[in-house]
């Protein structure tokens, strides 16, 4: 049986190809690298039991995370899934100064340039919005945002009172359909109209003992009915 392919020896003998020991060592490292990459791809998107367990192979997770390769490549690069988290998000913080004046901060600040700067703030707002449905994590980002802007105001010599010092809201802008663009109603044609805004999380900003805390404002529908009214109808 003859082969039309050149033998490994003849290829290896070509000028400049490394020796066999080096080739074997590098091939082994390439295998390890692609194994880790395959684990990242398969374990970050609807993972099978096997893929989830392969993440626990010693060194794999550390290697992937350190080099920023531990990504859900499918989800991350899909750009748009038609899901609610694919919209633009925003965080608004109202702070009341001791003088009674209100200061409002919006993330991302519209028109921030260069655009990559805008994207940094936009990503932070997106994460805050995505976490809003998670009871354990929803206040983590808004609290850091409130703490930052309070510290900034104080550093600038602006005084805030004690107790409730403001309010923070996380929301997103629902996307306009093509039909809405042609609507006869002006508010439907305006992408920043209130009809497109959806509030995801709202909290009062409190200062207790010098620390910043958030007290979530529950929507009426989220609050359990009073016991006396349960049988009223």
């Amino acid at each position: 049986m003859t082969s039309s392919h050149p033998s490994p020896q003849s290829v290896a003998e070509s000028k400049g190809v490394p020796g066999e020991i080096v080739r074997t060592a590098i091939s082994f490292l390439l295998f390890l690298h692609f194994f880790a990459l395959a684990v990242a791809i398969f374990s970050n998107w609807s993972p099978s039991t096997l893929a989830s367990r392969l993440r626990k192979v010693p060194g794999v997770r550390g290697y992937l995370q350190f080099f920023d390769m531990d990504q859900a490549y499918i989800g991350l690069y899909n750009l748009h899934d038609g899901m609610s988290e694919d919209t633009d998000s925003t965080v608004e913080l109202d702070l009341k100064l001791a003088s009674g004046e209100m200061r409002t901060f919006t993330l991302p600040e519209p028109g921030l340039r260069p655009h990559q700067r805008f994207r940094h703030f936009s990503r932070l707002a997106e994460v805050a919005a995505d976490l809003a449905s998670n009871q354990d994590l929803q206040s983590v980002v808004p609290q850091a945002i409130a703490k930052h802007y309070i510290a900034r105001l104080e550093a600038a010599g602006q005084e805030l009172g004690g107790g409730t010092v403001g309010e923070i809201r996380v929301g997103n802008w629902l996307l306009q359909s093509m039909e809405a663009m042609q609507s006869s109603r002006a508010d439907e044609r305006d992408p920043h109209s209130a009809v497109y805004y959806r509030k995801l999380y709202e909290a009062r900003v409190l200062r207790v003992g010098g620390k910043v805390q958030l007290l979530k404002v529950e929507e009426a529908r989220d609050v359990a009915p009073a016991a006396s009214s349960a049988g009223a109808k």
Binding site: S3, P47, L79
Partner: protein, 345 residues
């Protein structure tokens, strides 16, 4: 019968071995790798530079991304099944295995100094000075920003991180670099007896390197995997199947660069439908056709159109650039050399 089976497997493994050696180790011209170094270095420099006005806002003592926040995100999410977290959040979660030299810099002065040092490293890497060292340092700088501000990162950083990782493995400073300029100057200053003779191969041929092959192949294979995953994701997504995805990207009023929403009506609907399917088809075709010598120029040329369009629609210019930069690994060295003016060499 057994002999035929044995012969088959011998031929199979022999062919695979030869192909493997040829694919990964046959020396190649490092010109494309050097071009990728310049482009990736400039992009990384720009990305890090955009943090300059907001350094303290994000990473300062009372910044928007305090290290304590990472701890609480880690602790809270570790209790849950990490996989159960929405993927978009998971991507932004602080990593358990992370490194950032910015962690220890929280005073304004130290932060500024660390930031300037990072920019200097990226500039040296882009210019190709001590590239073997600065390529590793530049990767560490980029990773430091990624790991210090995971909630600020998105699609571009992982692409740039793998490109810069692979650039560390090959002679990315071989061409169009201060290293090359220094080497040329040293060669000229050498005594005549030590200078290259007529029988020595000319410059480019002398710089053929299997290290360049490994680095370029790694970028090619990794990029192909990313495209394949992009395509698989789109195939499993309703909005891409229905031809609506591009409209929904256009409708994101806050993030787009150019407003295309004035395009509406029946014709526009068909145009968005066609463009959505075009993007999907391109990402589906890339992993296969880019390996075909004849189709490759067409695939790479179309990439400029597709990513140009997507960058206008989504506002993700650095991401689109990073995809195009990684695609340079498929451009033949002769094309790269003929495209760049001689004065750069």
């Amino acid at each position: 019968m057994m002999g035929a089976v044995r012969d088959y497997f011998e031929a199979l493994f022999g062919g695979f071995g030869a192909g493997w050696t040829r694919f990964w180790f046959r020396p190649c011209d490092p010109a494309p790798l050097s071009l990728i170094r310049i482009a990736a270095g400039l992009t990384a420099f720009y990305l890090v530079l955009t943090y300059t006005p907001d350094l303290e806002t994000f990473f300062g003592r009372d910044g928007l991304e305090p290290l304590e926040m990472f701890d609480s995100l880690e602790q809270e999410s570790r209790g849950l099944d990490r996989q159960a977290i929405v993927h978009q959040i998971r991507e932004s979660m602080p990593r358990q295995y992370r490194f950032s030299y910015l962690d220890d810099l929280d005073s304004p002065g130290a932060l500024q100094a660390g930031h300037l040092a990072g920019l200097a490293v990226l500039a040296l890497f882009t210019a190709g000075l001590f590239t073997r060292v600065t390529s590793v340092l530049a990767l560490l700088v980029l990773l430091s920003y990624i790991h210090r501000g995971p909630l600020l990162t998105a699609q571009v950083e992982p692409i740039l991180a793998f490109v810069m990782f692979y650039l560390c493995l090959g002679p990315s400073g071989a061409e169009w670099s201060l290293d090359r300029w220094r080497a040329n100057r040293q060669a000229k200053n050498r005594p005549v007896s030590l200078q290259a003779s007529d029988s020595d191969p000319p410059g480019a041929a002398a710089r053929m390197s299997w290290g360049a092959t490994v680095a370029i192949r790694l970028i090619q294979v990794h990029l192909t995997l990313v495209y394949a995953m992009m395509a698989v994701g789109k195939l499993s997504s309703d909005v891409w199947w229905r031809g609506e995805a591009l409209w929904w990207l256009v409708a994101k009023a806050e993030s787009r660069l150019v407003d295309f929403t004035w395009l509406h009506g029946d014709f526009a609907r068909l145009a968005f439908d066609a463009m959505t399917n075009g993007v999907m088809l391109y990402q589906l075709a890339f992993p296969v056709l880019v390996w075909n010598r004849l189709a490759r120029p067409l695939v790479l040329g179309l990439g400029v159109v597709v990513w140009g369009l997507l960058s206008l629609v989504t506002g993700m210019v650095p991401f689109a650039l990073a995809m195009l930069i990684a695609s340079l690994a498929f451009v033949p060295a002769e094309t790269v050399r003929s495209a760049l003016p001689r004065c750069c060499e």
